[in-house]
Amino acid sequence: MKVHKTKPRVLILRTAGTNCDKETAFAFEVAGARAEILHINQLISANRKLSNFSILAIPGGFSYGDDIAAGKILANELKYRLEDDLLRFLEAGKLVIGICNGFQVLVKAGILPGSILREENFSLEQISTLTNNDSNKFEDRWVYLKSQVTSHKSQVRCVWTKNLPEVITLPVAHGEGKFICQSKSALQRLDRNHQVVLRYCKQNGSIKSVSYPENPNGSEDNIAGICDPTGRIFGLMPHPERHIWNSQSPYSKFPLSKIKPGDGLIIFVNGVNYAKRYL
């Protein structure tokens, strides 16, 4: 095991319409990383190299206006313009996180949920989607999320979500966040394979008969976040970067006596610590 003394380097990828890049970079910095925001044109022109980074973060926003479908155009750009670099990055065992629009990108590029049978063999085929909310509108609200609880520690796949409390709270803000899988059996496989790591739930953590607005978009199986079979690639609709301090949460009691870490920070710390250890 090698331990890095230097801070892991995070690439925050942005393009036209990305708009959560700065707070995502800030969250990674607070978590102990060195974050750099780069425009995809800088990678395509090969001025800057993806391989120099340990973590790739695709932040929220409206890449290319969400024209055609949310995340689709950037997903294609990654697939067709950066495919080799991207696959090499994944094969090197590095980390990826996609938040909101970033999650939509990962799903539409087929990077998530990833090929289930071939664990270390990354394919880029779309087998699930994030589509229009059942409410037919963009909505901003705080939701409760149940993190994956497994009987055996070894079953915790996702690098990003270990040590999360059973119920956390984060804001969602999207119009196209309804997760749908290609087929019922594919959905069951995801669950069996411990790839469903965050579910919309009730305040008490129950995921039974969860309905709108607890499940804000109508996602199948209340899915809010998934990882790939390796656990290194993670995508979620809620915004952990908007809850890195308690001062950002509506559930904090104002006036605040003390600034404390928020639920979202743990996710960034997990990624950064993994990178420090293994990358």
């Binding site: 036209a16 319409g17 206006g65 055609i68 479908a69 067709y80 313009r81 963009f138 006036p255």
Partner: protein
């Protein structure tokens, strides 16, 4: 070759869009539609093999999980046929750009398909319905399209090819307008026909100027002058001379007071700022927004704009470009401020207004509202700016002329505040390309709306492209931080004409109009110059920095063009292909407008005070007030805005145990690494204006100030913005109201020591109703921005803990005129809430101290609906009950309201209903833990306060009347339901 591609949901997939449309049709009162299917249509022109078309469909346009595609080599596709089937499609009018077209083109290139030349989009609808032709027309016109920007494709085979046809090239021909020999009548004709909105005196002035030059102006010169002198750009009413007189009542012609106001702006709004001379006001009334100091390194700026006329005609596009415009004001402040938050305030007619009574040409208020909200959502969310504060007023006086206020606050490093164009700097235009859009927007907003507005001025309406503006923003901030330019401003109303004209005011500028990048061929030099195409900024760049700056814009894929130079000869010179088309002295352009004298005559109105007895049980009254559209929950709107993006949100627009209560103000941290924050609040109350705009203005300032205090702010570093929306100022009664409001601002803001830092007026808000020009009620929006040193100390408005004490601060007076309560009973009344600065300032200061010392658990200001509504909101937002005793309320009778009942009651006796629903200013409801009672009350010494009750353990709000009997008793969940239901769409 043009391919037709259709994308639709797979069978069996739930499509929320179609469900939403079905609901919308039902809301129109049309019952015969069983099913509606919408299909996205892409028309792709180019010489490409079928395999590429398939690739585009599979890899790009279709979501393989939920959608399927079909493509055709003919333009019609397959029409659905059969009884009770209606199949039609809608596309944009030529010249209106759908942003999807350009992103789709880009994405197709990513697929390495290079032979696509152009794309058009359309939407096809297939209705299964048993409806009449008129019903079909209603669905189409009221729900599916707006003929200002779209049309139904009658014959796809014919019309699509023409959609792809490039307009013909422009053949240069210089146009002179003969004005030097024109008669007065002819001059007026020229002004009217050319949509110049210049009056005769102004036309004469121009004619005289050109007579001296012994030549006629070109059309371009005339347009430039008209724009610079327009009400929108020049604010000639506010800066002109006003002869103001007051008389007591309509009957007595006795004039009480007559004064001449030389410059209304300078003698009221700006006078406050000048007199107060706050060191933290760093740039006021000069830049594109007002700027105050934030911390050692940064300033914050704030600006609120209106976009009323465009929103009346095309609500989505109007609001969309309205918010886009005010964001550019922020980008164009100093050398570029970064936007951090948006606000929005709307005034609409009632959403259930009778369709058949709509004025000709007006859109239904519900449609206006839905469109406006979508427009703000689309632009604000896509730009990634948190929309954190706002208000909505419903009043049928806005039926033909809705109001849309959009605000943006930004943050800018102190060192980038100063800017000025330098001689020999190049004029650089960045951002969107220029089309025929928005021509005559500035002058259009300087006239009244008529039922022909939508046809005559349709080019004044456009759709924004927020992603374009986001790209511009990113590039500007990078360029700014590398110190690459000397000056920047936005292209707003008046387009290049006003941006370059203003920036080169002291230097002079030369522009080569053919260098401006165009969306399509065929624009004349004049059109290029005055186009108000969106998402453009003008910069003044030293020649040595051009290469680097262009690199930055290239990387963001933003258009960057050098179009001219700041010359130093103090003239505005325009060329097209080296031929001179405009040559004006800057001095004449900016200072040559004749000062206008307008008459203002104020007649104070006397509305009867209502006579009715106080109902014994006020529970139902309270529920009705909670359901008043101006009081009820706006959650349906608020949730559609991203109010968390940026991560700076501290006190959110919706607060409470389950985040659904009405916050008094928003608190945002513009710097993620700092505890410092800004508070923004707003106040608007047009009913008060019907009685006396003076006190309306005073009340608005008080309300904006007390909202700042409510969340834990201080007035020490609070600044105000004014936005006046008024009727036609050429009519003396309208103008008098405006003067009264400005005087109210002067008096109140001075005594509260709150400087104005920016403002805007939108006049001529009138519309034609049954042959008469009807004015909106004079409407003033006061927005406040305040710097708060430690956001941890901020508080919210919802009840926190059973057993906590409930106080009221401030005197309740029998000032119910204009109140929601009187409105409920069908009255206006005459005795308006006043402002008593000595009393209120003490309350503000003490409460501020109490909150900062941590004595206050929650605080809510009393505004519309008074104490009753405020208590209910605190209780149900916290999910807790309260016991409240009205006899503990400090009360002062102000008037001799005729409330006698058979001579028994004395006029000054308080009544339960008046105590509960009076809207007296400067009052707060405060929740205090019992353990902090002593400290809190000690601090409140000298303030009129009452310990009126406590938070209880039940789920009921119990209010005991003056006689000790219960007068309101209801479960808080029911009160909440009454409050949430009306706009829960």
């Amino acid at each position: 070759m043009i391919y037709r591609i259709e994308i639709r949901p797979k069978t069996g997939v739930f499509d929320p869009l179609d469900q939403g449309l079905l609901k919308g049709i039902q809301e129109l009162g049309i019952k015969g539609v069983y099913n509606i299917k919408s299909v996205a249509v892409f028309l792709i022109k180019g010489n490409l093999p079928e395999s590429d078309v398939r690739k585009i469909c599979q890899e790009l346009l279709t979501d393989p999980i939920v959608q399927e595609f079909k493509y055709y080599q003919n333009l019609v596709g397959e029409k659905s046929k059969g009884k009770q089937v209606y199949d039609f499609e809608i596309t944009y009018n030529q010249g209106v750009m759908d942003p999807v077209e350009s992103s789709t083109l880009k994405a197709i290139k990513d697929l390495r398909v290079t032979s696509v030349e152009a794309i058009r989009t359309a939407k096809r609808y297939i209705l299964h319905a048993n409806i009449s032709q008129p019903e079909l027309k209603t669905i189409q016109e009221k729900l599916l399209y707006n003929k200002v920007i779209q049309h139904i494709v009658a014959d796809p085979g014919q019309s699509y090819p023409s959609q792809f046809r490039e307009p013909a090239d422009y053949n240069f021909k210089i146009n002179y307008v003969d004005i030097i020999r024109a008669t007065n009548k002819r001059l007026q004709e020229i002004s009217q026909k050319g949509q110049l909105f210049l009056n005769l005196v102004e036309m004469r002035t121009i004619s005289n100027y050109f007579s001296l030059l012994q030549r006629n102006p070109t059309d371009c010169e005339l347009e430039t002058i008209a724009q610079t002198w327009s009400e929108h750009c020049g604010h000639k009413t506010f800066k002109g001379k006003i002869v103001y007189s007051e008389q007591c009542t309509a009957n007595s012609k006795k004039i009480k007071r007559k004064t001449v106001i030389n410059n209304l702006l300078k003698s009221t709004i700006m006078k406050v700022t000048k007199k107060l001379n706050k060191p933290w006001c760093v740039s006021v009334f000069e830049d594109n927004s007002g700027v105050i100091s934030f911390d050692q390194d940064y300033n914050v700026c704030f600006k609120v704009e209106t976009h009323n006329h465009p929103s009346a005609i095309e609500p989505f596009g109007g609001a969309n470009t309205g918010i886009g415009g005010v964001i550019r004001d922020c980008l164009g402040t100093g050398l570029g401020a970064k936007p951090v938050l948006n606000t929005d305030v709307f005034c609409f007619g009632l959403p259930d207004y009778d369709f058949s009574k709509l004025p000709a040409g007006a859109l239904h208020p519900k449609r206006v509202m839905k469109g406006v909200v979508s427009g703000v959502r689309d632009y604000g969310n896509k730009m990634g700016i948190a929309t954190v504060n706002g208000a909505i007023i419903f009043d049928n006086n806005y039926i033909g002329n809705p109001l849309v206020f959009c605000g943006t606050a930004g943050i800018i490093p102190k060192k980038y505040l100063k800017k000025s164009a330098q001689k020999n700097d190049l004029v650089v235009l960045v951002g969107g390309k220029t089309g025929r859009d928005g021509i005559h927007g500035a002058t259009f907003s300087s006239g009244e709306l008529t039922d022909e507005s939508e046809t005559v001025s349709s080019s004044a309406v456009q759709i924004g492209n927020p992603i374009e503006e986001k790209k511009v923003l990113e590039a500007i901030i990078i360029g700014r931080d590398e110190n690459l330019y000397n000056c920047i401003t936005d292209c707003g109303a008046g387009g290049l004409s006003s941006a370059v004209g203003e920036m080169g005011r002291n230097l002079g500028a030369r522009v080569d109009l053919e260098k401006v990048p165009l969306k399509y061929h065929g624009l004349s030099y004049s059109e290029i110059w005055i186009s108000e195409a969106q998402e453009r900024m003008v910069m003044s760049v030293p020649p040595k920095n051009i290469i680097r700056l262009k690199e930055i814009f290239d990387q963001e894929d933003v258009e960057f063009s050098v179009i001219g130079e700041f010359t130093g000869n103090k003239r505005l010179e325009l060329f097209y292909d080296s031929k001179k088309v405009c040559d004006l002295a800057m001095e004449f352009l900016h200072d040559g407008a004749p000062r206008i004298t307008k008459k203002a005559e104020w007649t104070s109105s006397k509305f009867a005070e209502p006579k009715f007895n106080c109902p014994e049980d006020l529970t139902e009254t309270l529920e009705k007030l909670l359901s008043d559209l101006n009081i009820c929950s706006k959650e349906w709107v608020i949730r559609q805005y991203d109010h968390e993006v940026g991560g700076g949100s501290v006190i959110k627009p919706l607060v409470g145990e389950v985040n659904d209560g009405p916050s008094d103000a928003a608190v945002v941290r513009p710097r993620l690494d700092s505890r410092k924050g800004v508070i923004v609040s707003c106040a608007i109350n047009s009913r008060f204006s019907l009685i006396d705009p003076f006190w309306m203005a005073a009340s608005c300032i008080d309300e904006a100030a007390r909202q700042v205090i409510s969340v834990g702010g201080s007035l020490k570093q609070t600044a105000l913005l004014d936005n006046f929306c008024w009727g036609n100022p050429d009519k003396p009664d309208r103008l008098a109201g405006l003067v009264r409001a400005a005087l109210g601002c002067l008096k109140t803001a001075l005594s509260y020591k709150l400087p104005f830092i920016s403002g805007k007026d939108s006049l001529y808000n009138e519309y034609n109703l049954a042959g008469e020009s009807k004015s909106i009620p004079g409407t003033l929006l006061i927005s406040a921005i305040s710097v708060v040193a430690d956001t941890r100390k901020c508080i919210t408005m919802f009840a926190k803990q059973p057993g906590n004490l409930i106080y009221i601060l401030g005197l309740t007076r029998d000032e119910l005129a204009g109140s929601a309560y009187f409105k409920l009973h069908g009255f206006l009344g005459n005795n308006l809430p006043k402002v008593y600065p000595k009393e209120s300032l003490t309350i503000f200061q003490r409460l501020e101290k109490a909150i900062s010392q941590g004595f206050v658990s929650s605080c809510h200001d009393c505004s519309e609906g008074g104490l009753g509504v405020a208590l209910a909101e605190m209780a149900f937002s916290g999910g807790l009950g309260m016991d409240v005793f009205l006899k503990e309320i400090p009360y002062k009778a102000q008037s001799s309201l005729p409330v006698r009942q058979a001579g028994k009651h004395k006029a000054q006796n308080p009544r339960n209903d008046f105590l509960l629903f009076s809207e007296s200013n400067s009052r707060f409801i405060v929740e205090v833990e019992p353990g902090k009672k002593r400290f809190f009350e000690k601090l409140m010494k000298g303030v009129n306060f009452g310990l009126i009750g406590c938070v209880n353990n039940s789920q009921d709000l119990n209010i005991y009347g003056l006689d000790g009997e219960i007068c309101i008793q209801q479960q808080v969940s029911k009160l909440k339901k009454a409050w949430q239901e009306p706009l829960n769409w």
